[in-house]
């Protein structure tokens, strides 16, 4: 057993492995397949101040080694989360984080304020990078001023660990990372999905209901890894890496690139026990290589 504990701000985790928002429901869907104690945390579906129905079906198109989705933040709203969902998941034996989204800085802040009151939610991940909703989401994540304005508003409403999730659909992700660090983010996570599209040539239409969607899965890994490497060198705060991670080896690449923790997303769909296997696989790899503490490999690559 190597030492796997890592910290993100005040958030203490038993393992660097978390599950990515939107790919793990509220955790309970995976209860038959996972021992939650092996994970550092789970990040539940994007939550907004008011309920959202999301985009029309079809919301998904398969691609080579990946998929496009345009779910569009369907969720029952933060009040429903606090009253109905939170009691069911608060005692899961791992950290439960909430992914927060909104359409104005005030929205984000109000949603975060609700969650600040929940004792057993130690951190939130601020989604300023959803490519599938018009009003907000990625609109904030693509400019330094937009990103800063959301983090500034939320920082005043939320005093626990604040992770800000960055969009890869930008010219310079390091500039955005620095902007949110300056506003008091405790960590950044990256990447959210890459904007793409897909065409059904027989019917001559785009496959997704809103035309475009976010690309995820193994096909995005090299892009994500490059961005994590760059951002880890540009900011002082911890970086959480994700994008296409499907194995312990993938996860170790992100750790070596400079990520303090990682998230598993689309891979949960292929094998619902993947996140646990990745956590155990990292441990085995460290043992096999005589590494006593995961920190010895975090950012070890020049």
């Amino acid at each position: 057993m190597a030492q796997l504990n890592v910290n993100i701000g005040a958030l203490q985790m038993a393992s660097p492995v978390m599950t990515a928002s939107g790919t793990f429901g509220y955790g309970l869907e995976f209860a038959d397949f996972i021992d939650f104690r092996t994970l550092g945390g789970i990040i539940v579906k994007g939550t907004t101040l008011h309920p959202r129905q999301g985009n029309p079906y079809p919301r998904m198109a398969e691609t080579a080694q990946g998929m496009l989705n345009c779910v569009g933040l369907q969720n029952p709203g933060v009040e429903h989360f606090c009253h109905d969902t939170y009691p069911l998941i608060k005692d899961l034996p791992t950290n439960v984080l909430v992914n927060v989204s909104g359409s104005s800085p005030e929205d984000y802040a109000e949603c975060a304020r609700h969650i600040n009151a929940l004792e057993q939610i130690p951190a939130i991940e601020l989604n300023i990078s959803c490519p599938n909703v018009k009003d907000g989401g990625m609109a904030f994540g693509v400019t330094c001023e937009g990103a800063a304005s959301v983090v500034r508003a939320v920082r005043q409403a939320y005093d626990k660990t604040l992770i800000v999730k960055l969009s890869p659909n930008v010219t310079s992700i390091t500039d955005i990372a620095k902007a949110v660090e300056a506003e008091g983010a405790d960590a950044v996570s990256l990447i959210n999905t890459l904007m793409g599209t897909s065409i059904d040539i027989e019917r001559r239409v785009r496959r997704l209901s809103i035309g475009t969607g976010g690309l995820s899965g193994p096909c995005v890994k090299p892009v994500a890894l490059r961005m994590v490497y760059q951002v880890a060198r540009a900011v002082q705060i911890p970086v959480v890496g994700l994008g296409g991670i499907s194995s312990a080896e993938d996860a170790i690449e992100f750790l070596m690139a400079g990520a303090t923790a990682i998230e598993v997303g689309t891979a949960n769909f292929l094998d619902p026990s993947t996140s646990q296997k990745i956590a155990e696989g990292i441990d085995e790899w460290l043992d096999r290589h005589g590494v006593q503490d995961v920190h010895e490999i975090i950012g070890c690559v020049e």
């Binding site: 790919t23 998904m60 080579a64 998929m67 094998d271």
Partner: protein, 255 residues
């Protein structure tokens, strides 16, 4: 409880060139209990273009075997047709909610299927028969070759067939079969192409017969986690993989 299992392929039958019937066993123990209308997410290996699992209905299940009847329509399903006896198929099961089966009073169920949509109705028919209910079937297809497993359905009850070209049974659509005006049915269960099921629902509503339908929306996770497979219902967008795939017709926003 849901399971991920490496099932063994023990029999591979090709009822038609573009169909495969896979009979699977569980080397690790008895086959988990499954309800008619629930489904399995199978992992397709060896296809460069198949990334996600594929949802397939339960054609038959008991403690020994699970049957999957697959229509080869694309790369993933064509790859499944290449499986050989002795191969392993990784399955996530059982998923979703199946058809409602009443106990107690004996009722007359009408199961209406089209194309490969007849697959779950075989298992449903078997379970309903075991509960003592009377079961009749209307099976539809474009042509005679599209109507499969007829001899198995005939062991369970009356089988009525329609084909669009009239090569088997009555010519026309399932909702045009003459039996519909001759007999009384207490409950309809249907699975097949959406336009067919919509026609069945129109008939059921017009004739005051309760009806459950099984949807085939495209899925990624099969667990209710990704929200990709939603259908608009009276309760808003709900996940077909978790709340369905079987729905009461009155829950859907269909005319």
């Amino acid at each position: 409880m849901k399971h991920i299992l490496d099932l063994r392929v023990v029999t591979v039958e090709h009822p038609r060139a573009d169909y495969v019937l896979l009979k699977l066993t569980n080397p690790a123990g008895p086959m988990p209990a499954m309800e008619p209308g629930q489904f399995v997410e199978v992992r397709v290996d060896g296809s460069a273009t198949t990334f996600l699992r594929r949802p397939i209905s339960i054609n038959h299940a008991d403690e020994q075997e699970l049957w999957l009847l697959v229509h080869c329509v694309g790369n993933g399903t064509r790859q499944l047709a290449q499986l050989q006896e002795g191969d392993t198929l990784n399955c996530l099961l059982p998923l979703g909610h199946g058809y409602t089966m009443t106990t107690g009073e004996t009722r007359h169920y009408l199961l209406i299927g089209g194309g490969v949509g007849t697959a779950p109705l075989l298992y449903l028919g078997r379970r309903l028969q075991a509960l003592g209910h009377k079961v009749s079937f209307i099976l539809g297809g474009r042509s005679a070759v599209d109507v499969l497993q007829v001899e198995l359905f005939e062991q369970l009850g009356q089988v009525y067939i329609t084909t669009n070209d009239g090569t088997l049974g009555e010519q026309g659509f399932v909702t045009q079969h003459s039996i519909l005006s001759q007999e009384h049915f207490d409950q309809i269960c249907t699975c097949g192409p959406k336009p067919m099921m919509q026609a069945v629902v129109r008939w059921a509503k017009a004739n005051g017969v309760p009806c459950e339908v099984s949807l085939e929306n495209m899925m990624a996770c099969g667990l209710g986690a990704c929200l990709c497979c939603v259908e608009q219902t009276v309760k808003g967008n709900v996940c077909v993989c978790k709340e369905g795939p079987v729905f009461d017709m009155n829950e859907l926003n269909w005319e």
